[in-house]
Symmetry: C2
Amino acid sequence: MPPSEFRKILVAQGGGPTAVINQSLTGIALEARKAAHIGAVYGAFHGVRGIVNQDLTDLGKETEQDLVKVAETPSAALGSTRDKPDRKYCQEIFRVVQAHGIGAFFYIGGNDSADTVRIVSEAAQAANYPLRCIHVPKTIDNDLMVNDHTPGFPSAARFVTQAFMGANLDNLSLPGVYIGVVMGRHAGFLTAAAALAKAEPEDGPHLVYLPERPFHLESFFRDVKQTMERHGRCVVAVSEGIADGKGVPVATSLATHVEKDAHGNVELGGGALADYLGKAVKDTLGLKRVRGDTFGYLQRSFAGCVSDVDQREARAAGEKAVQFALAQDRDGSVSIHRQGSGAYSATYGFTALEELAGKTRHMPDAFISETANGVTQAFHDYLKPLLGSGLPEIRRLRRHPVAAIGEKAK
Amino acid sequence: MPPSEFRKILVAQGGGPTAVINQSLTGIALEARKAAHIGAVYGAFHGVRGIVNQDLTDLGKETEQDLVKVAETPSAALGSTRDKPDRKYCQEIFRVVQAHGIGAFFYIGGNDSADTVRIVSEAAQAANYPLRCIHVPKTIDNDLMVNDHTPGFPSAARFVTQAFMGANLDNLSLPGVYIGVVMGRHAGFLTAAAALAKAEPEDGPHLVYLPERPFHLESFFRDVKQTMERHGRCVVAVSEGIADGKGVPVATSLATHVEKDAHGNVELGGGALADYLGKAVKDTLGLKRVRGDTFGYLQRSFAGCVSDVDQREARAAGEKAVQFALAQDRDGSVSIHRQGSGAYSATYGFTALEELAGKTRHMPDAFISETANGVTQAFHDYLKPLLGSGLPEIRRLRRHPVAAIGEKAK
């Protein structure tokens, strides 16, 4: 369908919410208003399910001011879903889309949502059904192929960085072992963000374990022991997805029953991993003060921790999605790339859906330390500009020792 | 000892760190500089332990600019301790204090630290040892007697509020049951702060369980079921300290081994309570999507979530501590009171140590709903001004339904 015939477009949100997924929604809605021949922007509640259920809202009736405020609100304003359409589901989508005269469908989501867009796109082509299908990237896991990074990740990374800034200071104040378990099923980007909390060489996290490297309890105990000997304390960042040499996730082997979502992903939530690792360290190394936290849903939905760079890029990704839909004669995904090697700036590309649908990008080797328990300077350089402005400034007291008088107690 | 003889003062921090405990440290250090006859301000590292170990720093060598930056940094800059002195320990304290010619000791901490100050104060009087002992309030639990509230609580409350703002939106986006476990051993103030996340009547948290009321699994299941029927989703805030009718904490009966700290407090950390309640709800009510988080150390140490009201009051409490030490001829604790009933403002009192040392203040009945699963408007009115300025503004999409065309899928 040529752009001039887009009378109505439809937008929906899929997968896990992020701090900036509504920026992309607003970007699409506001950019579409600029195109004279786009007469209506509909939103579907709860992703593709809202299409088949005809649970639609007319986003044209929202003011620009309200849409800008919605953009600044975390979590999917249209609601989300984990549904993945099959052939029958797609037929229902086409029936509704045709009835309403919708020419383009924008789906904001991760690699599972990209796969949904691919399925709908292929079904539309097979049925010779005129529907432009555009995927708009979003995931705190940062695991989309082709992209330098994905909207939602920088804000979640900022949460993890700020959390470890505080955890490091807390641990400095009351020394012991602290283990923070971070989201990331297969990709370690979000866990690695903990490393950006380090301001001084002795700061934690002292150890960072990613799903990209096999996790062995013996190496973990040795690493913690060495860190305790060196610093008298130890702050650890662990991905929920850490797995043994055979690829079996440590959390899965702990779960009393394994829960899978509609995409076949194993649920790794709950505090079991942190509790298990904490208890194992305590018992094995004979340490007294060991604490563990599982960051859980806080890291993706906490209201009030956001990267302004992420906000701008998520908005831009929505705007570009509409521009690509109007300018390109194919379906695809908006992708984010880093321009040049100087001061940070982003550019936007348009990528074939099959290049990223259902695929997972991992941390490149260059970002992971050779010892497999930390990250490299290259990762710091990669992430730093994405975290945005106004990060907390940590200032410690300097030590101005007062000379002891008389004998010291010990 | 008359004020004119204070040549040197000593400050230390005790108990769990907070976001603003360094404001009080800086308040003491800067106020002391204004008193011409106070010649030196020493800091002891890791509380009373730093005194007996003569691990002291000369805070006079820090610039005012640096102290102001330290004030804005979360967690105890001098380090903390859970040590509680006995008679022998006190003798060691006096030995060091005397050797260095220290006339006043300021201890920033909670009710355990207030008890430490009481012990040191009584031991000093019994030994006819001239040492002015001042307690400066701090605790995220908000459980100090006499005080309207305590520095550290408003910032932790703000974290909990912001967390539930996001959790509510996340749950709205992907409906189900969400259970957030909040710190608070015996006092429910921090858990109750979750209620401030509600912007609209259908917002979560829909249920709030406090340690001040007995917790029964059957009532819990019934409450969740009713909420699911009403809203199709349910957000729950639970205090880690919830206990059954006999006063046995639910978390304790779950713990495989019970860990106690030096004050005899049972450790309630770990994700067990959230996981247990989540699984119980899932199994009993046959619900599919149930998620739980334990906020853990994030709520007391997260860098970058602070109430500006809390910052100012914590600083003021430090300043007042020095003023009281100079003006009063007795030991005591700085207390915070609410002035009048109009626009919020705080005043500072000076309270006898025995009135709060080792005691726990609970949520007053007027703050707890009659159904024992929520809070009252009086609590909202109490907490709202403490959370400070610049809370995230939540804006939802309005529903502008698009009329269905043809049959609805379901």
